[in-house]
């Protein structure tokens, strides 16, 4: 049976350079419009592009991470079309000699979603749509973009989610900001011609658009209509794809070599080594008999978590390491490896973890002192609760309900480890029973 649903993606990723692709303007948006601009990124007559070396390095790193065949030299072309956000009325992009071709991302099922090509291009400006005119902000114009094009190898929404998550994790570990939503064109075919849905922002909308389109094509086919090759847009409000007003597919781009630039060899430029978090999670889970899901959750988008797990999984239980990571998140702290180890020790010893403990660890203080204080505190709390709950004294070993209730209350009040309290209770209760305490 031939695969019915096929989804392919063209993803646009902002390359995290300090400056724009062809000029030295800051690549980060200023709050006020048209602040980070110059004759080059505004396409003023007389200006010429100057290629950012860092953009090539980062692009090559991404290509390498996606197992793509990296070109020896790259070059650029002009793609001509008219729109108010395109300052030169052409975009400088890559067609014949892109950064790389081929490659893949491997899913958990071992299925590979193939990459067709990876290329660098410049971002257009931002348009505010007003009723009788447009307002244009060129801060964004000329920012470097990486376009990653996949083959139509994605067959369902789960694969789409997993692919995007994997990609985002790989990009995260290369230093690319994944908090700004990735933009993509999504190509969907459901037993017919491919329909391209342009300019979708974020995974949620990508999924909604794909779902809508799959259904729309199915419905159309069922009514006997033919799905033609088409370009559509996605309406977030309606959660639907719409036919595009402009027939962009008809546009004649008239592509020529970019004569203000040359050929650039990228063979010897340095790359950042990739990190495949999902693979690492699998390996760690196997090695330490831990939950793969738990580990993936932690390390997919957190290099600190990965660093700590790698370092301490051998000497401490993974669950403890993960607890420590969660503690850091809860208290919004960062610790170096030594201090993190101190935290691990504290947790292993059932020391009460609260903001006092954390501050102490952060300051590199010994934590024995504070745990002693807590011990006394807990002991007196236990004493009071036992007195309130005479039931506990009546065969506490059988009376697990009350036993657990006391533990629960004290743990909640003092933010202490239930295990520790349980241990103390088991020590103190017999003394009570023996009548040695009053």
């Amino acid at each position: 049976m031939t695969q019915a649903i096929k989804i392919g993606l063209e993803i646009h990723v902002a390359i995290p350079t300090k400056t724009k692709l062809f000029c030295s303007c800051s690549a980060y948006n200023e709050h006020e419009p048209n602040m980070s601009v110059c004759p080059i990124c505004m396409g003023f007559p007389g200006s010429k592009p100057m290629l950012n070396a860092k953009a090539l390095e980062i692009a090559k790193s991404v290509a390498n991470a996606l197992h793509s065949d990296i070109a020896k030299t790259v070059s650029f072309e002009r793609k001509v079309y008219f729109y108010p956000d395109l300052p030169k009325s052409f975009q400088i992009t890559q067609l014949s000699n892109p950064v790389s071709q081929g490659g893949f991302i491997e899913l958990q099922s071992s299925k590979r979603i193939r990459i067709r090509r990876i290329q660098i291009e410049e971002d257009p400006a931002k348009i505010l749509h007003e009723e009788d005119y447009s307002l244009i902000d060129f801060n964004r114009s000329g920012r470097p973009l990486l376009e990653i094009v996949t083959e139509p190898d994605i067959f369902n929404i789960d694969e789409l989610k997993e692919f995007m998550n994997e990609l985002k994790s790989i990009l995260y570990y290369l230093g690319i900001d994944i908090n700004t939503e990735l933009k993509a064109d999504v190509n969907v075919s459901n037993q017919g011609e491919r329909v391209e849905i342009k300019n979708i922002t974020g995974l949620k909308d990508m999924i909604n658009a794909a779902l809508f389109e799959i259904k729309r094509q199915e419905t159309a086919r069922a009514s006997g209509l033919v799905i033609n090759k088409e370009t559509r847009s996605y309406d977030e409000a309606k959660i639907a794809t719409m036919p595009m007003r402009e027939k962009e597919t008809d546009e004649e781009y008239g592509i020529i070599y970019e004569p203000d630039l040359g050929n650039y060899s990228i063979e010897n430029i340095p790359i950042i080594e990739p990190v495949y978090a999902s693979k690492i999670a699998k390996e760690l889970a196997e090695e330490y008999s831990a939950s793969e899901k738990l580990i993936i959750e932690q390390i997919m988008f957190d290099r600190n978590a990965l660093q700590f797990i790698n370092k301490f999984a051998g000497t401490h239980k993974i669950n403890i390491v993960i607890s420590a990571i969660e503690v850091l998140k809860r208290y919004n702290k960062t610790l170096d490896e030594y201090k993190f180890e101190a935290l691990l020790t504290a947790i292993s010893k059932n020391v009460l973890i609260n903001s006092e403990t954390i501050n102490a660890i952060e300051q590199g203080k010994a934590i024995e002192a504070s745990s002693e204080i807590d011990e006394n505190l807990i002991d007196s709390a236990i004493n009071s609760m036992i007195l309130e709950n005479k039931q506990l004294l009546k065969d506490y070993r059988k009376n697990s309900k009350v036993f657990n209730f006391v533990i629960g209350q004290i743990a909640k009040k003092y933010n202490a480890s239930p295990k520790y309290i349980s241990t103390r209770l088991n020590i103190l209760l017999p003394k009570f029973v023996a009548g040695k305490e009053d």
Partner: protein
Amino acid sequence: MNSIEEFYSLEKKSDYAESLFKDLSDLNSRLNAFLNITKISSQNYPFSVKDNICVKNVETTASSKILKTYVPPFNATVVERMLSKNFGFIGKTNMDEFGFGTFGLNSERIPRNPFNEEYVAGGSSSGAAIATAVLKYHIAIAESTGGSISAPSAFCGVVGFTPTYGAVSRHGLIDYANSLDKIGLMSRHAKDIRYVFDIIKGPDNYDSTCIDIDKRKIQERKEETAKNTIFIINQINDFLDESVKSHFSGLISKLENMGFTIKTIDFNLLDKAIPTYYIISMAEASTNLARYTGFKYGLKNNEFSQDYNSFFTESRSNFGAEAKRRIILGTFVRGASVKSKYYSKALKVRGLLISKMKEILRHGFILSPTMPIATPKIEDANSLTPVQNYGLDILTIPPNLSGFPHISFPYDYDKELPMGAQLISDHFDDYSLLDFVQNWEDSFKYKFKYNLGSI
């Protein structure tokens, strides 16, 4: 001593700058050399700038209606370098719109030949050539894509130097065709050109295609070019009119007497350079001119509420006819369905031409008349068809297409009108051309009708 040194050494009257400004403005009202004139200080040797090169805070239009009111917020690199060496900016010179023209006729104000106002000044650097022909102390920053320095220099009887492609930064040059545009110089003396070339040439952080010709010359030259051999291409005779032929043979005899070895050689591809050049230059130009849409700079279209495509189309009706032709043709030849036939093919022909010409230039210079015809009258030039027009670039296009440095110098006068010859040398061998013309000037004195600014 070059004329720059001479200018600084002479005592000037207190009203020097005033009278120069007045005299130049008066003459300019007839000749239309300048689109605007700035009063210089008598402390600065004057330089003019072709109107497609950006001067900060000075209206720069490339002689096009569509760029009226464009005031660049930056200086072209070449202008920065001139200003840093104390030269004084005297004004923007007239030209064919965006560089599209051989006779200067594609301009709102028709530039006129200073030797006889009924005749063309040549193009597209018309104003630069006229200014050089009328001012005693002055150097012109000009530009050539297909012959726009050579042609007007020949018609106006001045020296016009077009360096190797990439020798001078194009930052601030309003693009016609990026792989063909070259900034060059016009002057009355090769010595002055040499002096100023040293100032303006060389790599620049704002132009990726700008190279160091001295370094490249060392890297690429294995043996020194024979400086005494001059090649004449046989095929040019098919295109020269009679008066040019007879004057030119006089030049050849002179050069032989001066000790040069003259050889004739076949070059069958000569006329094929023209369509090749126009395909590439129009393809590139059509992309360069796409940015002129009537709202970021230049002439503004205020009808924002119409559909943006209509807005753009309406704004772009402000191009002249030649610009429209070239945009349409340029768009056509790079269209996906015919690209391999025109654009890609022309790029290969360029490669072929370069290697064939290099074979000759390894052994000597190439010399020809700069233009195949005698200076035409304005009314006659106006009646030429586009194809006839393009055909007259036959002698200037080959070196321009191939990026070889070349120089046009006055070698005779036909009645009162100057005649120019063009010498070509190999890539990066720019200074040999200047040596040659300097030598030529020892025995041949150029004649001028005006000498404004004489001290």
